[in-house]
Structure formats: C-alpha cells, structure tokens
C-alpha cells in the first residue's frame, strides 16, 4: 500500500507522546502545508469525540492523539490492573549506576554507560524508581544528583541498599578504576 497523507500523520501521531507542531509533522511526513491541513481535517473527523475512543486534539503545541474522556473509567481500571511493562536493560543499567555510584548527575550516568541516558533517566523518574536527591554545587550549572528511591527498594524487595552485593564482588579493580576515571572526567 502507498500510504495517504492521513495514514502518515496518524502513524506519526501514534508514536509521539506529546503534541506535534506542523513544521515537525511536515518534516517527518514530507507533506506540504496544504496536504497536511486537508489530511488533519479528515483525521479530526475520523477521531472525533462523538464516534471514537481515540480523539485527535488540536492543543497549544500542535496535534495530539489522546483517549476520549468518556472512556476514562476503562483507562483508569486498565492502569490499576495492568502489570507494568518490564524495565529494559538500559533502565537496569541506569538504576545500577544510581545504586552503586550515586548520588550522581545525569551527565555522570551517561559518561559511565557511554551513551546519553537522559531519556531513560526521565522514564525512571516518572516510574518513581529514581529521584533527584540533591544538587552538585561543584559542577557548572549545579546539576541535580540522582539516587534510587524507597520505591526502588520496595520493588526489588530489599530493605536497604546494603542488601545488594558489594561492587567489588561484581567487577575487577581495573574495571572499577576505569569507571571512576569516567565519573571524574
């Protein structure tokens, strides 16, 4: 199938958690302003609150798919009953950084892991497993320091961070000194 302008916009709206403005929508879909406007009109009808459980909203920042408020009950029940999605390997690594090396800044987490970890940190804060527990006043811009939360301890069934095996039993002294170098850099 050759996707129509409506199809392209729908798909991009599904993978965007927040509102998308027209320039971003245009650069992703390759559609002209006119094509987009016609397509968005059709989609507004398709995803109208009178007929659909998913609605297309034109909010301040742009366009966004949301659940229909009329379905809020079902959505809330789902949220209460659903087993949360398991954490990714990346998320476990960020938690390990905070547990064993924390409190530490976002930048330090990224340096230790070797990849930008801001998105993973954000998701973990949203899930309550990680929190900003202080400020690094030494560093430029005084970035926040991250640590694991009581909820993290509860989720792992531990009573304190001492319940975890010591770092020295997990990695060699050379590896550890490399990690500290990266933290300091």
């Amino acid at each position: 199938m050759k996707p129509s302008p409506e199809n392209l916009i729908e798909a991009v709206l599904l993978v965007s958690p927040g509102p998308i403005n027209l320039p971003d929508l245009s650069s992703a879909t390759g559609l002209s302003r006119d094509e987009m406007e016609t397509a968005l009109e059709a989609l507004t009808e398709r995803y109208a609150p009178e007929t659909s459980g998913i609605v297309l909203r034109n909010v301040a920042g742009g366009y966004q798919l949301t659940t229909n408020p009329a379905c809020a009950g079902a959505v809330e029940r789902f949220r209460e009953e659903a087993r949360p999605a398991p954490l990714s390997n990346a998320a476990h690594e960020v938690l390990a950084c905070a547990l064993y090396l924390g409190p530490l800044t976002r930048g330090a987490v990224s340096r230790v892991r070797g990849v930008n970890s801001d998105a993973v940190v954000r998701a973990l804060i949203e899930r309550g497993l990680l929190a900003e527990v202080g400020t690094d006043h030494e560093a430029p811009g005084s970035p926040a320091l991250l640590g694991v939360t009581d909820e993290f301890l509860a989720a792992t069934g531990s009573s304190s961070t001492d319940d975890f095996p010591p770092l020295g039993s997990l990695v060699t002294p050379e590896e550890l000194s490399r990690v500290h170098e990266r933290l300091a850099s």
């Binding site: 958690p17 949301t66 949220r79 209460e80 390997n89 390990a96 497993l129």
Partner: protein, 241 residues
C-alpha cells in the same frame, strides 16, 4: 592519516565494515570480549582495507605492518577455530566421543532443520519490521512494579565492565582502495592453479603474510581451494569451478 612516532602503531587505523566501523584496535577488543562475532567479520575486506590505507613511506610502516600481520593472523586462527567445532570441543575438554554415522546423520539433520527454521524466522522478522507501538502509555500505578535485584547487579557488571570507544571524529576518513591482494590472487587464478611461492615471489615478508591471509579468506568464501599434497610441502592455490 597521521602517524604516532611511538606507542601503539595501529592506533590511527580505522576500518569501515558492515558489522563495525571505527578504530581497528577497538574491533579487536570487541572480538576478544565476544561482543562482536568473529564469524561476521569479513577478514578479506579487513586486509583490503589495511592495504588500502597503508603508507609505504611512513616512518613506522614496518612496525605497523608487523603489528597488523600479527593481529590479522590471530584473527584468522580465531575464525578458523570458530568455524571448526572439533577444535572447539577439544579445547573445552568435553565431547571427545566419536560419533557413529547414525548419530552424525541425526545431528546434521537436526542442524539442517534449525537452519531452515532460521531462514523462516528471517522472513518473518523482515515482513513484520516497522510496526512501532503507541507512545501514549500511562505510567503504571506506584507499587505495582517489580524489579529483579539480580538483573540490577547483572546490569552493574555489564555497564561497569564495558569498554567505551574513544571519540574518533578527529580522525580523517580513510579511503579504501578495494581488495588489492584478493583481486591480484583472483587475476592470477584466471590462468589456472598457481603455487603460493610463485605468487608471492616478489613480495616482502609482510605482503606474503597478507597474501596468505587473503588466500585463506578467499578459500573460506569458496573462490579457491588450497592444496598441500604433503604436510609442510608446497602450497597450491586452485580456482574452484
């Protein structure tokens, strides 16, 4: 390309392969740490890439050539061991039983089925690629999440022992002249079988070593057969028809 007068002579050699692109030294590290499968590294391309980037007149060219020949032959040994399960099993100390023809047939049949299943999976993955899930997920209710503590410690081990690639943006791109030695061997084979000694008669030590590496790689690809009638006797390269 710049050359360091001393220290690691190959530190500025970068490679561009399908499976990996970056400093050669890091390729070796990744292979040795089992993070990249030697199986998937085309050694012939690697050799071609080195030959293409080689500068005859560089101050440390001899040192570089020697280092490359050394590491490349180690890779060849590693690859041949990976391809030869017999050596693998022996090295691990297990499975030295001799298989009856029936057992062998049973095993090969099993493997053939797995091979076919793997092909089927490849098609399934390909035809299902590009389905991205909704990003409109709601955060779960606090307290419902379970985190396995052993996964956290495993992640610690993984993250803290990982080697991180140094930035390479300051290194200029290497233009690779393709497959010099491999195509030289192919051209020579057009005239029929040729002895390794004659093929490499006018080469220096390094080129001879690299030509051998290229010949091994071509043999593995099925372009040629290496024949050696007597152990340690003369080696002949024969085109495969």
């Amino acid at each position: 390309m710049t050359f360091e007068p001393q220290g690691r002579s190959l530190s500025d050699f970068t490679v561009e392969l399908d499976v990996y692109s970056g400093p050669y030294e890091w390729l070796l590290v990744l292979i040795l740490k089992d993070e990249l499968e030697i199986f998937e590294v085309p050694l012939r391309e690697l050799v071609a890439s080195y030959m293409g980037a080689r500068e005859q007149n560089a101050a440390n060219s001899l040192e570089r050539d020697t280092d490359f020949a050394g590491s490349a032959s180690a890779l060849i040994l590693l690859k041949s061991r990976t391809l030869s399960p017999a050596i693998d099993a022996e090295a691990e100390g297990g499975e030295d039983e001799t298989l009856s023809p029936e057992d062998l047939a049973e095993r090969l049949t099993q493997y053939l089925k797995i091979r076919r299943a793997a092909e089927l999976l490849r098609e399934n993955f390909a035809s299902n690629a590009g389905h991205y899930p909704s990003a409109h997920t709601v955060p779960p209710k606090p307290g419902r999440l379970r985190v396995k503590s052993d996964r956290v410690t495993l992640a610690a081990r993984r993250a803290f022992s990982r080697l991180i690639e140094p930035p390479v943006s300051h290194l200029g791109p290497i233009t690779v002249t393709l497959q010099e030695l491999a195509s030289m061997i192919r051209a020579a084979l057009a005239g029929g079988p040729i002895s390794y000694e004659i093929l490499t008669r006018d080469m220096d030590h390094l080129n001879r070593a690299v030509a051998f590496a290229a010949a091994l790689s071509l043999a593995q690809e099925g372009t040629l057969t290496l024949a050696q009638i007597e152990p340690l006797g003369p080696l002949t390269l024969e085109p495969r028809v």
